[in-house]
């Protein structure tokens, strides 16, 4: 019990920090878990830390955005230009209302996750793990990734590249594939995230922080209809592969109209929807083993490293996980409606130093990855430099690295499905 409380508190700490500080990505939680991947922590602890930190990032992202005009996480960027149109009184109300919206969306979503895991799991419906359903789910996910990518041909190329390097322990593949593995053997997913996303992001100029006012939270009865509608939008957007939270934010923001020439309701809708989406992404991961965004991709890889099967384990831990999440949401609500000035000042102080703080954190994580990967330092540097060059190329052309990451993690399962499907077709 004490260990669960401790893990929850640590997850909350990481979630609040990653939510307030834009340089810390939304997947900071699972990145930190890589440090402990060899320590055989129970799956419940891993999932609690992951989900609590992840939802906290989304919960607190709006505070940094509204108070300092620095988006705490990427999905808040859509309403950045609207911040200047809000008066100080409106901002005070908005801070409270977005906290209510995030709380309602998060609570409802985690209860939905619990219901689906308990009543629509492969133990009850083994056909969920049948190759046809799995193949449709994977193809649908890849189709949506290609559709949302710009340009689409680049997404297709990145997916093919990911599919080439991902398979593991697959002796149904031809000999030439094993020859190809010589070039990338020994890579880790963390190394890929580092090279393709995090290191290139250190070289992006920081945004200018806006003038910070004194805030005292003012509560009023928020527009419940907007919160309910945005929660539903977030739930549907949450199962879309790729940038689920950003899609939820954009959809909810665009479907809400301005009232009295104020973007207030649009921001409330956006901040509610993304909190639902980040919890809902767990559903395909828990019941089909299908990770659909960066966060679930990393978590899936952590499970693979520990040889844990999320589909087999999840029904045993979903109830305590849900209870912890409900408690975490209550605590997040309290924290996000108090200490606002402290958060704003912290963001202000740390913002310009964040790149260095992040660089130090990354180096610590590289050490852990280097320890775990058990390849030579020379090989590690060769692979990391290779992926970093690849990351800069992707950034130069303004492509997204997500299709590549997605394909790397899913390729093992996807290639197996492909091999089996060919055999099933031949057998007919």
């Amino acid at each position: 019990m004490i260990s669960i409380a401790l893990v929850t508190l640590l997850g909350m700490l990481v979630g609040v920090a990653a939510g307030l500080l834009p340089a810390l990505p939304v997947f900071t939680g699972p990145m930190i878990l890589y440090l402990f991947v060899n320590n055989n922590y129970p799956i419940l602890h891993l999932l609690i830390f992951w989900m609590v930190s992840y939802s906290g990032t989304q919960f607190f992202g709006s505070i940094a955005t509204i108070t300092t005009k620095i988006p705490g996480e990427e999905s808040s960027a859509i309403y950045l230009p609207d911040i200047d149109r809000l008066g100080i009184e409106e901002k005070k109300h908005l801070l409270f209302d977005t906290a209510v919206g995030s709380f309602v969306a998060g609570t409802f979503s985690i209860l939905l996750v619990w219901t689906i895991v308990m009543f629509v799991n492969p133990n009850i419906f083994p056909a969920l793990l049948g190759y046809q359903i799995q193949l449709i789910a994977y193809l649908f996910a890849i189709f949506l990734l290609i559709l949302s990518g710009k340009p689409r041909w680049a997404s297709i190329l990145l997916i093919i590249a990911g599919l080439m390097i991902g398979p593991k322990q697959n002796y149904a593949l031809p000999v030439w594939w094993y020859d190809l593995t010589f070039f990338f053997s020994g890579y880790t997913l963390y190394m890929i995230v580092l090279g393709t996303i995090l290191i290139p992001s250190l070289f992006v100029p920081a945004r200018q922080i806006s003038t910070i006012s004194e805030y005292t939270i003012k509560s009023k009865i928020p527009n419940i209809w907007i919160i309910i509608k945005s929660t539903v939008i977030g739930i549907f957007a949450g199962i879309v592969p790729g940038a689920s939270a950003s899609i939820a934010t954009t959809l909810a923001y665009n479907t809400q109209k301005e009232s009295n020439n104020s973007p207030y309701n649009k921001i409330l809708a956006a901040e509610t929807a993304n909190n639902a989406a980040v919890v809902i992404v767990a559903i395909p991961f828990f019941i089909l083993g299908l990770p659909i965004n960066q966060n679930t991709l990393l978590m899936s890889n952590i499970m693979d490293i520990q040889s844990l099967n999320i589909i087999e384990e999840i029904t045993k831990v979903i109830t305590p996980l849900t209870l912890v999440m409900l408690i975490a949401f209550v605590l997040y609500f309290w924290l996000s409606t108090h200490l606002i000035n402290w958060y704003a000042n912290t963001v202000n102080i740390l913002h310009n130093k964040m790149k260095w703080i992040v660089a130090i954190i990354l180096l610590v994580l590289i050490t852990a990855d280097l320890q775990y990967s058990e390849i030579t330092l020379y090989r590690y540097c060769y692979l990391l430099i290779g992926f970093t060059i690849f990351g800069f190329v992707i950034r130069f052309f303004k492509w997204s690295a997500i299709p590549f990451l997605f394909a790397v993690v899913l390729s093992d399962k996807f290639v197996w499905l492909g091999v089996q499907t060919i055999n099933f077709i031949v057998s007919k």
Binding site: L363, L377, N423
Partner: protein, 280 residues
């Protein structure tokens, strides 16, 4: 530029730290098989017994690289993977010379269908799921030469666990899986066939499919290490640990903690026989 220099210096520092940390005394268990295979589950049990770290290799050559890099490491070798490596021309996947063998173990396979399954392996047209390394055409032909009115189509999977999932999902009619996993799921599946000659509760595959060259197939596991003290420690723990002994009883593995060179030679011969029989 300043950032790049600082990051490079820090990386060099980390490299030095990386090398200095290599002298830890904790045992690392390297699994060269799929986590879904009986040998993968066996490796997990070994890891638990020695309270060690875990290293899951992408393929067996990479497992060998890890073995040379990690000081106190033990490899859980799998004869089926060694055969697949010969077939795919992968290097360093056989039992190395000059290593110390802590134990050898083996488990037979059961061939199972759902409790309400109505197909007959001998007579009907069926899909039989098995691990990818031996779900090959030559093996399939040996099954089909003996089937009278139907044909057996072999479908490749990563290991016994994924075969079981496919069987439960209804993708395949029959599944070839480790005896431990099969016994554990006896409330869902029935195993009419076995590769274990001595098991009188099931039909021995070789009795009816007499043209199968390896009807007595088993997964052979070898636990080896480069360090004498580590070898002795692992052997002692495997002998004494009650949990591990309980595991071997339920998993269908028979374990030998005092292996001779002859035992190792026999396993190498089995691998060669698989290669001669099933290779592309």
């Amino acid at each position: 530029m300043k950032k790049i220099i600082v990051i490079c210096l820090a990386l060099i520092g980390l490299g030095l730290l990386h090398d200095s940390n290599k002298s830890n005394t904790k045992i690392t268990v390297i699994n060269m098989s799929s986590p879904a295979s009986p040998a993968g589950v066996f490796a997990q049990a070994v890891k638990k017994t020695v309270d060690g770290d875990w290293y899951q290799s992408s393929h067996c050559s990479q497992g060998h690289d890890a073995f040379t890099n990690i000081k106190n490491s033990v490899v859980v070798y799998n004869s089926s993977v060694a055969f697949a490596a010969l077939n795919k021309q992968l290097k360093n996947c056989q039992i190395p010379k000059n290593v110390l063998i802590s134990a050898v173990a083996k488990t037979p396979m059961h061939i199972c269908k759902l409790l309400n399954g109505t197909t007959d392996l001998e007579r009907d047209k069926v899909k039989l799921g098995m691990a990818s390394m031996y779900a090959v055409k030559k093996h399939q032909d040996q099954f089909n030469n003996q089937s009278r009115n139907g044909s057996v189509q072999l479908i490749p999977y990563s290991g016994s666990k994924t075969v079981l999932k496919a069987l439960l999902a209804g993708d395949i009619e029959w599944g070839w899986m480790g005896s431990g996993l099969a016994n554990k799921n006896s409330n869902k599946i029935q195993c009419e066939w076995t590769t274990d000659k001595t098991d009188k509760t099931k039909q021995f595959l070789g009795d009816k499919f007499s043209r199968l060259t390896i009807p007595d197939f088993a997964i052979n596991v070898v636990i080896y290490t480069a360090d004498k003290k580590t070898a002795e420690k692992v052997t002692a723990l495997l002998k004494e640990n009650k949990e591990f002994n309980k595991y071997t009883k339920t998993s269908g593995f028979t374990i030998n903690t005092e292996p001779t060179q002859q035992d190792v030679d026999n396993i190498n011969q089995i691998v060669q026989k698989m290669y001669n029989t099933w290779s592309n």
